[in-house]
C-alpha cells in the first residue's frame, strides 16, 4: 500500500515499483527533455522569439550538417569526461559539484607539463601530460573528501568553493607568469609544441580525447559491475550504515573514488589544452563542470549512457550559440533550458520509482 492522495472524488496512489521496467529508463529522460523544451518555449515567447523557429535553428546549429555535428562532438568531449568523473562520486553518495574546478586544475597541470617538457616526443609527452593532469585533478578532488570524513564538512559547499579557487588560479597564470606576450590583447599562454598536441580527426576539431572518454565510460561501467571496488562504491552510495556494517573502509574508498573522479574530470581540461586550443586561453570552459552534473543525472549516472547525454548537451550548448546569435537572446536563456532539463529529469524520476494509479472513489 503506497501513499494515497485524495482530491475530492479522485484518488491518486503512489506505489513503489517492485521492478523498474527497462523502457522507463529511456522514456523518462526523453520525456524530461521534451517537457523542458516546452516550458522553455514560454521563456522564449517572453523574449518575443517564436519557439518553433528558435528550436529549429537550435537543432540545425547542433546537428543540422556535418560541420555543426562535429562541433557538437567537440563540446561533448569535455562534458563527457566531467560527467563521468561526477557520476562515479555521485554513485558513492558524495555530492561532488567540483568537476569545474578539477577540470580547470587539469588544464593548468597540462599547460605546465607542455610548457616545461616541450622537447619530448609525442608518445612520451602526451601520456605524461595525461598522467599529471589526472593526478593534479584527482588530488584536488580528494581534498573535500578528506575534510568531509575527518571534520564532517559538507562536500557540496567545499567542492563548489574550490571551483572558484581553481578558476582564479588559472586566471592568475594566464594574466601573470604564463602570459604569452606575442598574443597581444588576447590573454592566453604560449602555444603548445606540435609534439604535445593531441591529433584531431582530419578536417574537424574532434580530438582523439573522444576515444579516451568513451574508453573510460566503458571501463567505469565494467569496474562498477565486476570489481570489488565497484561493489563497495555502490554499497557506500546506497547505505553508509550498511557499508560500515559490512566492514567497508569508508575513508579509503571515498578518497579513492574522489581521486578517480577528479582525475577523470581533469582530463576534460587537459583535452581542451592539448587537443583543442593548443594553449590555455581565458574562460576556455563555459561551465562544462556544472553542466556535467545535469549530463550525469540525465544518464541516470550510468557510465554507458553518459556519452549519449553528453552529445545531447553538446548539441544544446552549440545550438544555444546559434539561437543566441540569430535571435539575439541572452545565453542565460539557454542555461535556463538546461536547468529545466535537470529539474524535469529529477521530477519525472517519480514515474521510475513509483507506479502511479489514478482512480475515482466510489
Amino acid at each position: 500500500m503506497g501513499l494515497v492522495v485524495k482530491f475530492g472524488s479522485i484518488e491518486i496512489e503512489f506505489r513503489k515499483r517492485a521492478t523498474r521496467p527497462r523502457y522507463l529508463a529511456y522514456l523518462v529522460p526523453f520525456v524530461a527533455v521534451i517537457v523542458a523544451l516546452l516550458v522553455g518555449s514560454v521563456l522564449l515567447l517572453s523574449e518575443g522569439v517564436d519557439p518553433l523557429t528558435a528550436y529549429l535553428a537550435l537543432f540545425n546549429t547542433a546537428f543540422g550538417n556535418p560541420y555543426s555535428l562535429s562541433e557538437t562532438i567537440v563540446k561533448a568531449i569535455p562534458l563527457m569526461l566531467a560527467a563521468l568523473g561526477t557520476a562515479i562520486t555521485f554513485l558513492a553518495g558524495f555530492w561532488n559539484i567540483g568537476a569545474e574546478g578539477q577540470l580547470q586544475m587539469g588544464a593548468l597541470a597540462a599547460t605546465w607539463v607542455t610548457l616545461t617538457f616541450s622537447g619530448l616526443p609525442s608518445f612520451v609527452i602526451i601520456p605524461w601530460t595525461m598522467f599529471v593532469a589526472f593526478a593534479v585533478g584527482g588530488v584536488w578532488g580528494m581534498i573535500p573528501a578528506f575534510f568531509k570524513v575527518k571534520l564532517g564538512m559538507d562536500e557540496i559547499l567545499t567542492t563548489l568553493m574550490m571551483n572558484y579557487v581553481a578558476i582564479l588560479a588559472v586566471t592568475y597564470f594566464i594574466y601573470g607568469p604564463w602570459r604569452d606576450p606575442a598574443a597581444y590583447g588576447n590573454p592566453r599562454t604560449q602555444l603548445v609544441a606540435e609534439s604535445a598536441r593531441i591529433p584531431a580527426i582530419l578536417g574537424t576539431r574532434i580530438h582523439l580525447t573522444l576515444f579516451v572518454a568513451i574508453g573510460i565510460a566503458v571501463l567505469l561501467y565494467w569496474v562498477l559491475r565486476r570489481t570489488k571496488f565497484g561493489l563497495e562504491i555502490r554499497i557506500i552510495g546506497g547505505n553508509k550504515d550498511a557499508a560500515k556494517y559490512a566492514g567497508i573502509n569508508l575513508f579509503k574508498n571515498l578518497l579513492l573514488v574522489t581521486l578517480v573522479g577528479g582525475g577523470i574530470a581533469a582530463l576534460a581540461g587537459m583535452g581542451e589544452v592539448s587537443g583543442l586550443y593548443y594553449c590555455l586561453p581565458k574562460s576556455f570552459s563555459p561551465g562544462y563542470g556544472y553542466t556535467a552534473v545535469v549530463v550525469a543525472w540525465l544518464a541516470r549516472l550510468n557510465p554507458l549512457a553518459i556519452p549519449v547525454s553528453a552529445f545531447l548537451f553538446g548539441g544544446l550548448l552549440n545550438g544555444g550559440y546559434g539561437i543566441q546569435m540569430v535571435f539575439a537572446v541572452p545565453i542565460a536563456l539557454v542555461n535556463a533550458i538546461q536547468a529545466l532539463v535537470l529539474f524535469f529529469v529529477l521530477a519525472l524520476s517519480i514515474f521510475y520509482e513509483y507506479n502511479i494509479i489514478v482512480r475515482r472513489r466510489r
Binding site: 500500500m1 513503489k16 517492485a18 521492478t19 565486476r226 570489481t227 570489488k228 571496488f229 561493489l231 555502490r234 554499497i235 546506497g238 547505505n239 550504515d241 550498511a242 557499508a243 560500515k244 556494517y245 559490512a246 566492514g247 567497508i248 573502509n249 494509479i357 472513489r361 466510489r362
Partner: protein, 501 residues
Amino acid sequence: MKGITKSFPGVLATDHVDFDIRSGEIHALLGENGAGKTTLMNILFGLYQAEEGEIYVDGRRVIINSPKDAINLGIGMVHQLFRLIPSLTVAENTVLGLRSSRRPFLDLDVAGKKITELSERYGLKVDPKAKLWQVSVGEQQRVEILKALYRGAKVLIMDEPTSVLTPQEVSELMGIMKKMAADGLAVIPFVTHKLREVMAISDRITVMRRGKVVATMRTQDTNEKDLAMKMVGRMVLFETETVRIPSERVVLQLDKLRAINDKGLPALEDVSLSIGEGEILGIAGVAGNGQTELAEVITGLRRASEGRILINGREITNKSTREIIEAGIGHAPEKRMETGVVPDLSVRENLILTNYNDQSLSSRFLLDRISIDRHVDKLIADFGIMTPGKDSQVRLLSGGNLQRLILAREVTRKNLSVLVTVCPTRGLDVGATEFIRNTLVSLKKKGVAILLISEDLDEILSLSDRVAVIFKGRIIDVVPTNEAKIDEIGLMMAGAVKTAE
C-alpha cells in the same frame, strides 16, 4: 461487519469477512502479517473503504468514510506506533483536535478532570500535566487509550498492544482491558504472535488467514497449538528444543566492557559475559538499556572505551569491522533495512554484502560472477527467500524475507563462530518466526555461540541456555533458563536489584 471485501491490485486483502463484537467483550483478531486483519480494522476505522459488505453498529447499517465517522460512531483505535506529540502534555495530547467549549482557548482544567475520572475508573495511571516525552512507553499507550475513551469510544481497536511493553506493563494492560470490558466496552486487540497473551485475555478469538476468516471461537474452546495451526494452516513446531551441549569451551568473552552512546553518556558499564560453544545467551531488557550498544561494540561498529573482547582467546577489542568479520563474528542487526542491507541494491549483491571478500567469491580485485550466482541461488533455495529474482531490489522484500536473507548471509559464512542477533523475529509472522528460530537452534548444534538480544522475553526463555538481564548498561544477573522465573526477570528488567538470598 458482514461480507467485507477489499482488494488491492493483485491481492484480495479481505474476502467476504464476517466479524462481530458485543459490548463487554474482548474479541481478539489473530493472523499472520498479510492475513488481512489490519485491512479489516482499517475499514472499520474508516481508513479504507470496503468494496463489498456492510457494517452495522447497534443493529443500524452505517457507512464509515473516514476516521471521523468512526469516532462519531464510538469506534476508537490505538495504533501500534503511537500518534502523540512529545512536546505536549498528556492532557493536551488527549484533547488535541477536539473542539473546546471555551474556544479559542483550551479547556485543560475540565479535560484534566475528565482524564482523572476516566483513568481512575479503568486504572489508567497517567499524570495529565506531564509532558509526553517524559513518560514511559506504557504510559504513552495509556494516553492513546485515554484519547479514544475521551472521544466516547464504545469499541476500542488495539493494534499489537503488547509489542512494546515489559511483562509487568503487559499484565497491567491486561487488567485495564478487563476493566474496560467489565464496564461494557468492546475491545478488539489484534495480534500476530503472542498467543499466550491472547489466551489469557480474550473471550472470543477470530483467526484470519489469507483474507479469510478461518474460525471464530470461544477462547475456552481452543489452545495455543490449535491457534498456531489455524493461523499458519499446518502444524507448527512451537516448542523449540533446547539442546544442552556440554561444552565448556568459551568462544566469546567480554571483560569489563564500557562504552558510551551517541549522546556521549555511558551506555555499557563493566559488562562481563561469556558464551560457550553451542550456547545461546539471551540478553533480556527493556529497549534502550544498552542492548544496541552492546551489539555494536562486539561487532566493531562502536568503540569500547574500556574492557576487552575475546573471540576464541584472540583479542578483537576495537579492531575494524572487517577484521572482526574475518575473526568469525556474524551479525543480524536490529535495524534490518537501515543497517543490514542496501535497499536499492539487488538480492544478489545483498547476499554477499559482508562476505564478498571471501576467496570463493572473488579474487584480489574482481568479483567471481559465476560462483557468486551459484552461492546466491543456493542461499535463496535453502532459506526459502521469496523474491521475484536475484536481480530485484531488496527494499521490496517483506520483513520475513529480509530477515531470511540477512540470516542466510550471516550464518553461512565460512568461519562463523559467534552470531550476534538483535530482535531476530520482531514484526515477523509465525511462519518466518518459526524458521528463524529453527535456524538459530541448528546453528547452535553446529557449535556456534549465539548472543540473542531481544525484547521478546518469551523468545529469550524458549531459545536460550542462559539469560542475562541488562538494565542501564549493567548486567544485573545471569541465570540458567531452566531456573529463571519470569516475574523475577521482569523485576530485574525494571531495575530492581536481585536481593541476596
